[in-house]
Symmetry: C2
Subunit: 387 residues, 2 copies
Amino acid sequence: MDDVFVAGVGMTPFGVSDNSIIELARDAAIAALNDSESISERIDRVIIGTQNPDEFTGVGHLSTLLTDHLGLVPAGAFRVESGPSSGSSAFEAAVALVSGGLADIVLVIGVEKMSSVDRGVASKILAKMMSYENETRYGATPAALAAMVARRYMHEYGLTRDELSLIPVKAHRNGAKNPLAHFKKEISVERVNNSRIVADPLTLFDCCPTSDGAASAVVMSQSKVKELGLRDSSVKVIGVGHGTDYHAVQHRLSLTSLNATVIAARTALRMAHITPADINVCELHDAFSILELIDMEDIGLCERGHAICLVKNGETEVNGSIPVNTTGGLKARGHPTGATGIAQIHDIIRQLRCEAPHGLQVDSPSIGLTHNIGGFGNNMTVFIFGI
Amino acid sequence: MDDVFVAGVGMTPFGVSDNSIIELARDAAIAALNDSESISERIDRVIIGTQNPDEFTGVGHLSTLLTDHLGLVPAGAFRVESGPSSGSSAFEAAVALVSGGLADIVLVIGVEKMSSVDRGVASKILAKMMSYENETRYGATPAALAAMVARRYMHEYGLTRDELSLIPVKAHRNGAKNPLAHFKKEISVERVNNSRIVADPLTLFDCCPTSDGAASAVVMSQSKVKELGLRDSSVKVIGVGHGTDYHAVQHRLSLTSLNATVIAARTALRMAHITPADINVCELHDAFSILELIDMEDIGLCERGHAICLVKNGETEVNGSIPVNTTGGLKARGHPTGATGIAQIHDIIRQLRCEAPHGLQVDSPSIGLTHNIGGFGNNMTVFIFGI
């Protein structure tokens, strides 16, 4: 792969917003273009990552609409969708366009506006990423599948309810320091344990919220970075991995490992010529608390069943040996599905540029990783960034 | 751009189908994989081009679903959408992934199943690709915009109703020889002139149908083509262009030229190091008859206002100097929106391989072009292929 850089990032606050999907996307994009100091350059492509704007908001044809709205005509534009990893897949397409020599500057925008429909409608839209034949028609929900995975993980590795609660507690502790997070309030283990059961053993605080929000990145070729003198502020994309798994959970080899993550992480690490031990900071897809532990193990940050030891020893904290979800993760930063992948990239780029929010900056990281899940564990992307 | 090839293509019949969107996509994909002789190879990515499966069919998360259904797990997968040019944008993403070194073999599938909803619902879904603020809310439809364009073109260049009718007549004459076409019946100028007015001056036969169907292509790196010994049967992608225009027609500089086509064609021609005169056969987006004339002029196949002279002189016929839409175009082949871009590529690849249907083969073409419109003239892709 030819050298590809992220020259700028931008993001709106995540949460419930009065802004339209167009306004959210526009605000993130303008922030990213300003951050990249290339707002007056010719943008070759505009790629939009969004899961389902048509059904969440009634607005369609978003790629052309936004290109016009942002004053970026005649840049070629398309939308990319892969469920909740739509932002990451859009970023992958952008990296490919630049690496493949079809573009020098690509603006990527991840966006979702989920609060315009009521919870029941949102659940129906989100349920499409599960298997209808094998799951949805029997009443399964994403939380129910996650609960099954959590039960099995507890059985295999002896994880306790108190231990699992450490994940959302850390997420909220970090989110409290992130001005852009959906939730900025710390919570206790007791609060997690005693909150409403969503799907036994998972409680309300094991589950990420649905959010509104947008994030954006400016992807740039090496020659353009040089031409604009942006090398010092740009971060290099050094690894790209993307894998799928069987659509229905019941068809997979394991409940306690998501094989698509293993495939995506292995590919990205090989491309980056590094091992998991070289990663200084990472953003993992913790839509449900149990997933953060499984993600860590699938990426190879520790042995199977040992992720919770790292958590208990404080190694996944901001000042630990492998900080995970330093800005709150999906749990506290929020999860506007199509925006999440780019928000993860936004936060890792800021870490590598030592611009994380106060109290969240990892000590001089040089390599960061993002991991985003589409569907319930069936479509994973992993990116690795280096300075 | 690194050398990228199309190693195989496949397509279902277009029309009204009893098959589901999954079945349509599967049939086209298996045909393309078989055609490429790489059905037993590892597929690195599966890219789906489709406009709106969620609202047309209720099925979402199509990229993962199809990857699993086709037995291609763990290939990374995503869907690409840009309105009626979704198939072409998916192809562009596939070319970028291969050219950028992220994949050696990418399976691209364009698909749409439009007959599951009634005409009123379909119209509402399709209207999203127009500007709500400037067009849809005043009752404008794609046909109404096309009619306005046709009126202006007639005024500027003196095009007559009889002349315009030559376009659908040629489309149906070619479609009658294409076993996969939606319409296989010839029509006369009188039939076009006297059919029901849809939006004055356009009649029913000036407008393409909504269709069900799928088409697929196997995109391959040069090294993989060599390794598999497929050079003789593979066609090279020599030009890629993609441009947008202002979303609303009223904001554009001209009614009788679609600037996004000019941009896309110029970019693709420059990349291919050729002039329009070098093109031996092309598939243009004739969703409305008037567009075929404007497309020809925007690509540079003739001077402004002169396209109809080429048509009248028979130059756009199969045995003419610049055959256009030899397999029926959108008008007669049909227009399952997300599938159209790949169907155009399918038909051009078959032309370059001298495998067009009986009576439709152009005499030994070596360079072919496809042109696909997303929205009403606001998102265009042009590809150029060479043997």
